[in-house]
């Protein structure tokens, strides 16, 4: 029942998104422009900083993710569908999981575009250990999205939601970005430091368990009036 509801919510979001592709395109374009601006801003002696590749990749994911979170829940608020979702006879945490999966998929598509782009622009060997890199990205995205979905859902009714989401989200998810960036730079070393990257993936995994559990636990009381 739980999984069915979550997948139904995911299918609903997919169906809406497939029609207009508005959030997908705007998020992708925003992420790409982020990477471009960072590559222009972080220069040393006139050339782009090659060591900045790890940081820039994760920053682009975080910024694009914040935007995507805001837009997804703005759409719910505009259509007043959030109340309908909450009125449905479905376990509330399942709605959270459905929304979380939607955001994770959206960010995964963005990362599929961003990672090769960063690898190209910064001459960074991001794909020397593709499985570890993918593991880092997946774990980091889940960590970011788990906290982000909860906060974005809560902030839907708030006046100052656009500025509050980054204010609340970024301090809470700095462990994720630290793990992501340090893990990615470990993989960018020559030779790639697999032990360190694996350690960060494991740490991200444990953080994800804590955050997702807390989010599932608090989603129900948070969304009730």
């Amino acid at each position: 029942m739980f999984l069915k509801v979550a997948l139904l919510v995911l299918k609903k979001d997919f169906a809406i998104e497939l029609k207009s592709r508005e959030i997908l395109y705007t998020t992708l374009f925003f992420a790409v422009s982020c990477v471009l601006i960072f590559s222009i801003a972080f220069v040393r002696e006139g050339a782009p900083l090659e060591d900045a590749a790890a940081g820039i990749l994760w920053l682009a994911v975080f910024f694009a993710g914040t935007l995507a979170l805001g837009r997804t829940f703005e759409r719910e608020r505009y259509g007043e569908t959030l109340r309908a979702l909450l009125l449905a006879p479905a376990p509330r945490p399942a709605i959270y999981v459905g929304k979380l999966l939607g955001i994770v998929f959206l960010l995964a598509v963005a990362e599929l575009l961003l990672a090769p782009m960063v690898a190209l622009l910064f001459n960074a060997a991001l794909f020397s250990r593709p499985l570890l890199m993918a593991g880092l990205l997946v774990m980091g995205t889940i960590g970011f999205a788990s906290v982000g979905t909860l906060f974005a859902a809560m902030l839907v009714r708030s006046r100052t939601r656009d500025v509050m989401l980054p204010i609340l989200l970024y301090p809470m998810t700095v462990p994720v970005i630290i793990a992501g960036v340090l893990g990615t730079s470990a993989l960018l070393q020559t030779p790639p430091n697999e032990a360190v990257a694996t350690m960060w993936i494991a740490l991200l995994g444990s953080w994800n368990v804590v955050f997702v559990t807390l989010a599932l636990w608090t989603f129900e009381p948070l969304m009730t009036e």
Partner: protein
């Protein structure tokens, strides 16, 4: 509880007045000499902050799951105190580090995560003030997540090699530096009593505010 307030105030004030005497009599640390004496206020500030965060987190959970309005008042008071004591820790730390490490700030695990913890609870206060409808519950969620971060912050200094002293320093004080253990314990107790005192004051303010709100509602 009211009756305990005045004796608590007197005891805390007396402890704070006597603390400099004990600190001055404590032995110097071999490498850091005089500047290490910031330790007697720096670590108790963080102890008080962790205490405030635990109070905030637990009361936030009670508010979210049992809907007790008094829990929400205690949680927001505790969050404000967490920011206050965290600010003390974040200012005394760099003042110590400037002399001991040569730099005001380092982006190592302990300092970074402690700054984040402070920012999380500043976010709590911002949400309470500017969040709009439903902000009390969102703030409660932030309190719970913030409390979940505390073990990471505490253990970060042991997991990663950082320039910050490790957590073993304090428990080993009794054996390695007995002359330092007494003033440290004294200051730690003083700060915890101060936390309780300030919490009582601040919750009293929230209580009065709630009473005022009730009066406004009754008027309409």
């Amino acid at each position: 509880m009211r009756k305990l307030f005045a004796p608590l105030l007197i005891v805390t004030a007396a402890m704070f007045v006597y603390a400099p005497v004990m600190i001055a009599q404590a032995p110097y640390e071999s490498t850091m000499l005089l500047i290490q004496k910031i330790f007697y206020f720096h670590v108790p500030s963080w102890i008080a902050m962790y205490g405030a965060i635990f109070v905030c987190g637990i009361e936030s959970a009670i508010f979210l799951f049992r809907r007790k309005p008094s829990a929400e008042r205690v949680a927001s008071a505790a969050a404000e105190l967490a920011v206050l004591f965290g600010l003390f820790g974040l200012v005394t730390g760099p003042l110590w580090g400037r002399k001991a490490w040569g730099v005001w700030w380092q982006w190592d695990a302990r300092l970074t995560t402690s700054l984040l913890l402070e920012l999380i609870f500043v976010g709590y206060l911002l949400v309470r003030k500017y969040g709009g409808p439903g902000s009390d519950k969102l703030a409660a969620a932030i309190g719970i997540f913030g409390m979940a971060n505390v073990p990471f912050v505490y253990k970060s200094v042991d997991i990663w090699r950082t320039v910050h002293p490790q957590t073993s320093v304090v428990p080993l004080l009794l054996t390695s530096a007995p002359g330092m253990a007494a003033p440290f314990a004294f200051c730690a107790v003083a700060f915890i009593l101060l936390l309780v005192l300030l919490l009582a004051l601040r919750v009293g303010l929230e209580h009065q505010r709630a009473a005022l709100d009730q009066l406004y509602l009754a008027e309409e």
